[in-house]
Chain length 234, copies 2
């Protein structure tokens, strides 16, 4: 298995994901939200770029609305980007349309892949299992506003770690090697490893510590949202 990690969506060169399975990561918080919603019975998730586009899709499909701008809930939306809000009573059997600043953009950037899956710390082992047997896996880190973020690289490293545990025949590109080594150095205390980073600090200042604690728990979920033929993740 060839595993490549892309530090940001901008580093995806044309055709880089052709024929491959892509795992998109926005660990703080969009892909953690998506895995949580799916684990709790969400009937389908659509990722769109713009707020108005999200509102229109939600009307069309009778879906709930989730996401953020500037890390905060969007006017009139049902959910913010806090995974703990997506409880079974609120999300089971319902469709969900999401738009966020970074995660949904990264998902759209990875659209050329044969498969698109959503990964995070919370479903790292399940995401690795979901791509078992693939010849080529591209892990796409969302970053923040186009910039590299350490949390997504660490989550990519968490998935690389699990891929390497399953088989010895894993070839890593340089960014995958880097992500793997960063994860191995950090996994004892992910929060400490991220304490100096900008995005983590911003979410802390916004009072979202509970989100951070949740999103940094590894392997608490089995759900791995995957894009279906109709463009919805299930």
């Amino acid at each position: 298995m060839d595993v490549r990690v892309f530090a940001t969506p901008d580093t995806l060169q044309k055709g880089a994901l052709d024929g491959k399975a892509a795992i998109v990561i926005d660990a703080l918080r969009m892909t953690s939200v998506a895995a949580t919603a799916m684990e709790h019975g969400c009937a389908g998730l659509l990722a769109v770029a713009e707020v108005e586009e999200a509102r229109a899709a939600a009307r069309q499909y009778g879906a709930l609305l989730g996401g953020e701008r500037g890390a905060l809930k969007i006017e009139g939306f049902d959910f913010s980007n806090t995974p703990q809000e997506y409880t079974r009573p609120r999300i089971a059997g319902r469709r969900l349309v999401m738009t966020t600043s970074n995660g949904t953009r990264a998902i759209l950037a990875a659209a050329g892949a044969r498969r698109v899956l959503l990964g995070a710390f919370v479903n790292a082992s399940a995401a690795a299992r979901a791509v078992d047997g693939e010849a080529g896996v591209g892990i796409v880190c969302a970053g923040t506003l186009g910039a590299f973020t350490l949390e997504d690289a660490l989550a990519a490293g968490a998935i690389v770690e699990r891929l390497c545990q399953k088989t010895r025949a894993v070839r890593l590109d340089d960014m995958a090697l880097a992500a793997h080594r960063l994860y191995r150095g950090a996994r004892g205390d992910l929060a400490a490893a991220l304490a100096e980073t900008e995005h983590y600090g911003r979410l802390t200042r916004l009072g979202l510590e509970a989100d951070l604690v949740y999103c940094l728990r590894e392997d608490i979920l089995g759900a791995v949202p995957e894009r279906q033929a109709d463009g919805w993740f299930r």
Copy 2:
């Protein structure tokens, strides 16, 4: 001092280097070559993108020609991209025009910076000293053909390490934190840390082990080529 590291030239967002001092790194091998040539008395180095452009500039300035395509010497050039060739008898007092696959491209991508310097393992401490007192430093990793390479990230980390030693008031962005941690994990044996990487493997297969040994030696040079008002590095 704010220190940002850019994993590849493509991750340089518009204006990211405005007003800053940029240190461009292509540790294997172009910026190691440049520091070596300067240490040995080179009268000035011009980095250009294309081979024909290099030939024309060399004719115009009576300069020597150095560089590579596909890691190999270019037809009719005086030097390849092997730093050990740039001895004092051959380079002292002479101008040098260079074109390489990655380093010269990264230098051109960083052109918007207020200052542009060339760094590598061989002159890491000198490069850190050269930007002492700057408010903002952007370290630009050349990578290989647009892709992230671990060796440039490690060399960036080596420079970050020296910047952090000089002052406690260094703020690192996420990529700078990552590069620093990767370097700290690797500095005991840089060759071992790079053994699995693609570019290092390619240069080894081409029989360029001596270049690798040279380029991974830290702080053997005091020269830090810096772009002057006329566009030449001295």
